[in-house]
């Protein structure tokens, strides 16, 4: 089959516990833009058990079509049946582009699917566009950071289809929801026959989290090792509360056991782009910067005037964070009154 016969932009609509993940809407948003550039459609692929009704919201966020693969074997994420589902959809519908979220699920599913359908996969993309590669028009150009965020590389997949990428969550923008907008729903049937590759789930242990996902926060007050102790995060909580924001942290803080991994910003944590990011006592390792430098406004408070965090901060304050933060909280509270 000729490469030109592969048509359409497909996105994997990740769901967990029959709830669509934000990444699915983000991928539709980006997919819409790519599809417009190629004059084609955006199709969301929804895989799970009892998930058909979730198709509506994918339509409202901009999907033209939703392919649903529904089977009891797909109740929980497992590599093999999910790989079978997505690879079968690709072989049947032949998309030119297949986007998957670079989540803990997508980074397992993506490579296995790409190997099964024999195409390339570019990991953790932060920028996607349609352009020319070696004089071939209409190629997907996939840009990603590598080498711990030291470099960026743009990758093409000129001779194989689909062109596959995993996309970092929190980087692409979802579209405005249009209530009542409908996608064409296609139910796709394939057989799931358990074999040696089907692993058995013995237990599922959910971590209890009382905080809002830091990727959804509009304001983040983020602490690093410069806070000195886990107790000192109390003042960050107060500042965050006064601003209506959330607390996040650097990797050093997680490694020290002061805060849970769910609050970690950076290359091995989460990518955030809030309206305001206040970095408190964070030196700004390159891996941390990679996770927050797209924030709209960055304020950094640090004792060390040579800290790399100041290289990305819009406003840098050289000073003692433990003295400045409580006074700042008071000032904000006083104008709120």
């Amino acid at each position: 089959m000729a490469l030109e016969d592969y048509k359409g932009v497909f996105i994997y609509a990740q769901q967990v516990d029959n709830k669509i993940d934000n990444i699915a809407y983000e991928l539709i948003g980006k997919g819409r833009e790519l599809a417009d550039a190629l004059s084609t459609d955006v199709t969301a692929v929804l895989v799970g058990s009892g998930v058909k009704e979730l198709a509506d919201s994918l339509g409202e966020y901009g999907a033209d079509k939703v392919i649903v693969v529904d089977d009891p074997q797909l109740k929980e994420y497992r590599t093999e049946p999910y790989t079978h589902a997505l690879a079968s959809v690709i072989n049947e519908f032949k998309p030119e582009i297949m986007l998957v979220g670079a989540t803990a699920i997508g980074r397992d599913l993506g490579p296995r699917v790409s190997a099964r359908v024999a195409t390339g996969l570019t990991a953790d993309c932060t920028f996607l566009e349609i352009g020319e590669f070696r004089e071939k028009p209409n190629q997907l150009l996939m840009t990603r950071p590598a080498f711990g965020g030291n470099t960026i590389a743009t990758i093409a997949c000129p001779d194989n289809r689909p062109q596959m990428a995993t996309v970092r969550p929190g980087v692409m923008q979802k579209l405005e929801r249009v209530p009542g907008r409908k996608a064409e729903v296609i139910e796709y049937k394939t057989e799931f026959i358990p074999d040696h590759k089907y692993v058995e789930i013995l237990d599922i242990v959910k971590s209890v989290s009382e905080t809002v996902d830091i990727m959804d926060a509009k304001i983040l007050v983020s602490g690093g090792r410069g806070m000195g102790s886990p107790e000192n995060f109390g003042m960050l909580e107060e500042l965050a509360e006064a601003l209506g924001g959330q607390v996040s942290c650097s990797r050093a803080v997680v490694d020290a056991g002061w805060k849970p991994k769910a609050l970690q910003v950076g290359q091995t944590g989460k990518t955030v782009r809030p309206n305001l990011y206040i970095a408190c006592g964070i030196s700004g390792a390159i891996q941390h910067l990679a996770g927050m430098e797209e924030s709209d406004v960055i304020i950094a408070i640090n004792k060390d005037e040579t800290a790399p965090i100041f290289d990305v901060a819009d406003y840098g304050i050289v000073g003692d964070v433990k003295v400045i933060v409580p006074k700042l909280t008071e000032a904000i509270k006083s104008i709120a009154k």
Binding site: R78, E80, T103, A104, R107, D108, P111, R112, S114, A115, T119, G120, L121, T122, A123, D124, R134, P145, A146, F147, G148, G149, I152, A153, T154, I155, A156, C157, N160, H196, Y198, V199, E200, I201, L202, D203, I204, V205, K206, S207, S209, A262, L276, L289, V297, I299, F310, D311, A313, D314, Y315, G316, I317, V318, G319, D320, I324, K327, A331, I335
Partner: protein, 260 residues
């Protein structure tokens, strides 16, 4: 039990990153270490060896100098080492790399293959799952705990907000997180023996069931269009004031930006 651990020699990114004119990494020009997630995978294998008895073979694909990380692995307690190296394998992307490593592993007997989750140079986390696909065995990625139960493995598999306890029949491939353990040091005796130990070399001719069209730069579906140093957003203002003035400065900026 036979365990194969795939390890990669990676540039220590702290030493700076250098490229060749074709956009691929100039590995020869940088300092090298054993990839951290792979080292955790090796430690996991050595612990299984301590606990249940096992033969641990380490395998690395790379330049001849990747022998260094194989000797390090032997000094930590691995039993055998294989270096997969050949000029035709250079410039491989994850597809061509996983095809090559699967072709090398087809020479071996194994119950378990352990790889690191991802390498610090590429950060792709693709090669482990892709090897398992080529070998048609189950994969459990992101392992934070590994136990053996008869002919099966029981693994805690990390997700964003939860972990699954999974049971898979061996042979099986597991990708390890560096959080899995703290790797042991090389022993002085181990270093001595490792220096003398023989390292098996595989070239193109030793790869089983692999087509030339899937190897090296030419066999890589993904091509680098361009690579460059990251352009960072420039620094803004930086002030050094007393605490009261610092607070006033921040308040002014927040108000200017309509945040308060």
């Amino acid at each position: 039990m036979k365990i194969v651990v795939c390890i990669k020699q990676v540039p220590d990114t702290k030493g700076g990153v250098k490229f060749k004119p074709d956009g691929t990494l100039d590995r020869g020009a940088m300092l090298s270490i054993m990839n951290p997630d792979d080292k955790a995978g090796l430690e996991a294998a050595l612990r299984l060896k301590d606990q249940y008895g096992a033969e641990v073979t380490v395998l690395s694909m790379g330049l001849p100098k990747a022998e260094d990380v194989l000797r390090e692995a032997l000094a930590m307690g691995a039993d055998k080492a294989i270096l997969v190296t050949d000029r035709v394998l250079g410039g491989a992307d994850t597809w061509a790399t996983s095809t090559t490593i699967a072709g090398a592993i087809r020479n071996l007997e194994y119950d378990l293959i352990i790889t690191g989750r991802q390498a610090i140079d590429g950060d792709t986390a693709q090669v482990g799952p892709q090897i398992s696909e080529h070998l048609n065995i189950p994969v459990i990625s992101y392992a934070q705990d590994i136990k053996i139960d008869g002919d099966s493995v029981i693994v805690e598999r990390q997700f964003d907000d939860r972990y699954h306890v999974l049971k898979a029949k061996m042979p099986c491939l597991i990708t390890a997180l560096s959080e899995l353990n703290t790797p042991r040091y090389m022993t002085p005796g181990g270093i001595f023996d490792a220096y003398e130990a023989e390292i098996t070399q595989y070239g193109r001719a030793d790869l089983v069931d692999v087509d030339d069209s899937n190897l090296g730069l030419n066999g890589s579906p993904t091509k680098i269009a361009k690579a460059s140093d990251k352009v960072r957003k420039g620094a803004g203002e930086k002030v050094s004031l007393d605490p009261e003035a610092s607070v006033k400065y921040i308040m002014d900026k927040l108000s200017e930006k309509h945040i308060i």
